[in-house]
Subunit: 557 residues, 2 copies
């Protein structure tokens, strides 16, 4: 469960550029240059206009790798080389628990102590929420109307559809939410089974377990950019697992998939398909994967597909048709064929889908939705004597508040509300990409994604302040509904400033991240974005973001 001794031992390691350092980071920066916006981007501003305002700069600085950086992959995505993380001994900074002074009453002193701890904590949360950019959590929610429920112990024990005798539950809300997802993913009410989970990981653990129970000797195939919980599941469940290569975009490499499926043909296949990978926000091409399965000769009874849609599974359906569809929904394959982006629907032979609830929707605590076919849960019940448990969930006792949060937001926003949010996120993500490119920072943004990948900043205090998730030489910002253009402006200005400060006399050396984002997106002196520098003889220029049809392999460098 932990990859190396030295990594597990980081709890006692002293690598701590503590988050409080952020306070020392002076924000005496000039105001945003040409564009000063106070909140969000007006709906009517088109991307093309944006591009006109913010021309992509081509003149990069002299190339250099940032060899002195301690890389962390705190986002936990799978990577073969071992990385260190920022770790520290939490015992010292923890809020200790002390015995009340008197036998019967909590003393005033204790009350005051607790109130002051909570007040300081609240203040720090407010501050941290303000600067957060690196994780895909929508911090913009208001559940004030639900605070009246906080003093109930709401527990959806076991199966959502089998009522337990415990009365203080919220199954009415849970099933309402599930029915909404049934419409979204096109399964009839009597054909689906699902539940509200504690997080995306529980969804993956459940989906892969259902797959294993349906196909007990199946091999798990997942791209190396899959969330680490997918491989954790394989180990937990003692399944054979095969890692599949990815394209530069982070999308699964279907050439490699085909090769590996062919090798493992003797056994059934359980596939994890990513709708938005953790680090690069890449969307695996479900339709192409289905074609590959057919081509290799897997019939529908010999494969099971779990769709991990943690973040983007809830955004993709709301990309508005019209202005946006040509750019974001349709993909052009190498052969020139235009096809729809891989829609997630149970009209295709998929087995399960999971999404997170605290990401795009926003929720005080992690939660998610796990969704599968009733027939799989039924088939489990035929094959398996599960020891008198009719509980097909993983957790058993389940947070009954989470479904009410989801129910509340789904009701208030509806499809149209989500559409607006998604549009704003995609637009703001493009805005961020353009501003970074303009600042000669290597940057990549996948189609259908609001996850902006860029060079990992060298300044650890800056990373902590903006809570960037990093992996190796790259970091990312995830543009959620709570991320405004103003916030992005502040971020970019500060990044430019700290970048200058990291080098003597502001002579910035741009790191080469071509292996992570491709020649078109790397801003180092050798590549200078869009590849204006000639490549070595015989090497073909490949763009990471426009590679469609999933038939190009990793760019060589």
């Amino acid at each position: 469960m932990v990859s190396a001794v030295e990594e597990a031992a980081t709890r006692c390691v002293t690598l701590p550029p503590s988050p409080v350092l952020k306070a020392s980071l002076k924000r005496s920066l000039p105001p945003p240059m040409s564009l000063v916006m106070t909140d969000g981007l007006p709906d009517e501003i088109s991307l093309d206009n944006l591009k006109a305002v913010l021309p992509t700069s081509k003149n990069g600085e002299s190339g250099a790798t940032n060899g002195n950086v301690k890389y962390g992959d705190s986002h936990g995505a799978v990577k073969s080389n071992k990385n260190f993380v920022l770790g520290r001994d939490m015992h010292g900074s923890s809020f200790k628990i002390t015995e009340p002074d008197h036998d019967d009453e909590v003393t005033g002193e204790k009350d005051a102590y607790m109130a002051s701890v909570l007040a300081r904590y609240r203040k720090s949360l407010t501050e941290k929420s303000k600067y957060h950019l690196g994780y895909p959590y929508n911090l913009d929610f208001d559940y004030g109307a639900l605070s009246q429920l906080q003093h109930f112990s709401i527990n959806n024990l076991g199966d959502p559809f089998i009522e337990s005798n415990y009365g203080v539950h919220s199954r009415q809300f849970e099933v309402g939410v599930l029915d909404w997802f049934a419409r979204l993913w096109e399964l009839e009410k009597d054909e689906y089974w699902g539940y509200i989970t504690n997080c995306g990981t529980e969804g993956n653990l459940h989906g892969i377990l259902v797959g294993r129970e349906v196909l007990p000797d199946g091999i798990l195939y997942a791209s190396r950019d899959s969330h680490y919980s997918v491989f954790k599941a394989a180990r937990m469940y003692r399944m054979e697992a095969v890692k599949v290569d990815t394209l530069l975009s982070g999308e699964i490499d279907c050439v490699d998939l085909e090769r590996k499926l062919t090798e493992g043909k003797d056994k059934p296949a359980i596939l994890n398909v990513n709708i938005g990978t953790t680090v690069k926000g890449a969307v695996d091409d479900l339709d192409l994967i289905l074609k590959v399965l057919e081509r290799v000769g897997y019939t529908e009874d010999r494969f099971y597909i779990h769709v991990d849609g943690a973040l983007f599974g809830l955004m993709m359906p709301f990309v508005k048709k019209g202005t946006w569809d040509l750019r974001y929904i349709r993909k052009k394959s190498l052969s020139g064929e235009v096809h729809e982006a891989p829609k997630v629907t149970f009209k295709k032979p998929i087995g399960s889908v999971s999404v997170s609830g605290h990401k795009f929707i926003g929720c005080p605590m992690p939660c998610g939705v796990q969704f599968t076919r009733m027939k799989h849960i039924n088939s489990l019940s035929r094959n398996v004597e599960y020891l008198a448990s009719r509980d097909a969930t993983i957790m058993g006792s389940r947070n009954g508040h989470a479904p009410i949060f989801l129910w509340y937001t789904l009701n208030r926003k509806g499809y149209r509300g989500f559409q607006k949010d998604v549009q704003r996120c995609l637009r703001n993500a493009h805005y961020l990409k353009e501003r970074l490119r303009e600042a000669k920072i290597g940057v990549m943004l996948n189609e259908l994604s609001s996850t902006v990948v860029f060079e990992r900043p060298l300044d650890e205090a800056f990373i902590l302040k903006w809570q960037l998730a990093c992996q190796g030489k790259i970091a990312h910002a995830v543009v959620m509904p709570s991320v405004t253009v103003e916030k992005l402006d502040n971020f970019v200005e500060e990044l430019i400033e700290v970048r200058k400060r990291s080098f003597p006399e502001g002579n910035v050396k741009i790191p080469c991240i071509v292996e992570e984002v491709g020649v078109q997106n790397c801003a180092c002196s050798l590549h200078r974005g869009a590849g204006t520098i000639p490549l070595p003889k015989g090497e073909k220029r490949v763009s990471a973001c426009v590679q469609n049809g999933n038939s190009i392999n990793r760019a060589s460098h």
Copy 2:
């Protein structure tokens, strides 16, 4: 994951004596007879006084089995015969999600609809909380001071001791809580590892997984009264699992354990030890189990013990020394030797302990504490390449509010507060037992437990109203800090009333539950409690609750 087709199919089955029926149950009952108390039991009333007030009645009614009852084991404990449960199609009663009317604004109508749904729901929760008796949840908490935190998305991503870059976390509280448990369970700060889980099940899943990783070919041994998640874990993890018999009390039968450990001696042993079983609240004798392991020849490197202390793991340490210890802490073995109850401490060779946070402590949503030795997590990291994940938790994304709830209550109550709560629970549980016995209802209460087991009532509406957890012919009530004597009085009065109504002309036939609770506790005509009716020739009378030393097997009947 589901035990039988017909059980999984219960979502569409129409067996629904709906909870609303409870409203139809008239509560025009006479006031409590001799004892009228308004709230709680004064601290100074001793059990002996109680017994004097409430003499145990011996004159049972004519014996009969309740063959017409649909048995449910909604509490999910392991039972070999398949049971039906109350299930219903939840789609009909769910709160549907509808699209907002306008594009931009939520209409007043929608607002009003949602407010009315929430108001009705809140009312029903208040009502249901009032009558709840069957599940071990302390509904008595006030986290008003923490409502200021509800609008933050607090997520303790991954390991509590490895800080992630996401700033909106509550690790300071989490580690404070864990340090408190380190003192309770006697492990040094640098020797433990743990985290706040989503529920007791996650604790069991984690503990057993750690056991399997430490001893990969170990066989899992657990009593048949263990929580179903223990056997679910074995199936999930593809482990060999052996079910061990239990005594009538629900405690693990160490004679059977010894036999089975001897049979499986070639492989290491992973043991689940219950501190409070789900149905009967029985405490497995940890010390005796350790002796058995030694006797059979298992050295410490060849076994791993996970302690499932879901409910009573947090109560047992607070049983007050003094008045109570002779009765509750010390146990007298058959040989007459008096020994201490099995204290849970890491000074003994145990591997992990899990407890629930929403049970005895009380919390708006399920949560728990999982605790293990640092060396096990370290040994995992040596043996296992866990694919770049340094996250040794199961869930990854974790509810950051739960640790703050726990921190708040631990600070306010402290050891002494818990002691008071535990004493009141044990006293009230004895009060309930005496009142039921007086009413000629078969009843059993284990030492060290506040779980009162009794005949399953025949009236389904009554079961639903009081939210009793049932298994086969028995039901139980769990006396938590939120359960007052007044509530127990109301419960008993009503039970007597519905019991009479279930039989023509009030001629109550008492079911025989001797197989579940033993002759001393069964009130049927054959056994009549404490066994005043002679038994068939040659059959030895065995008491379920006084069987100590763990060397008596199940009573034959």
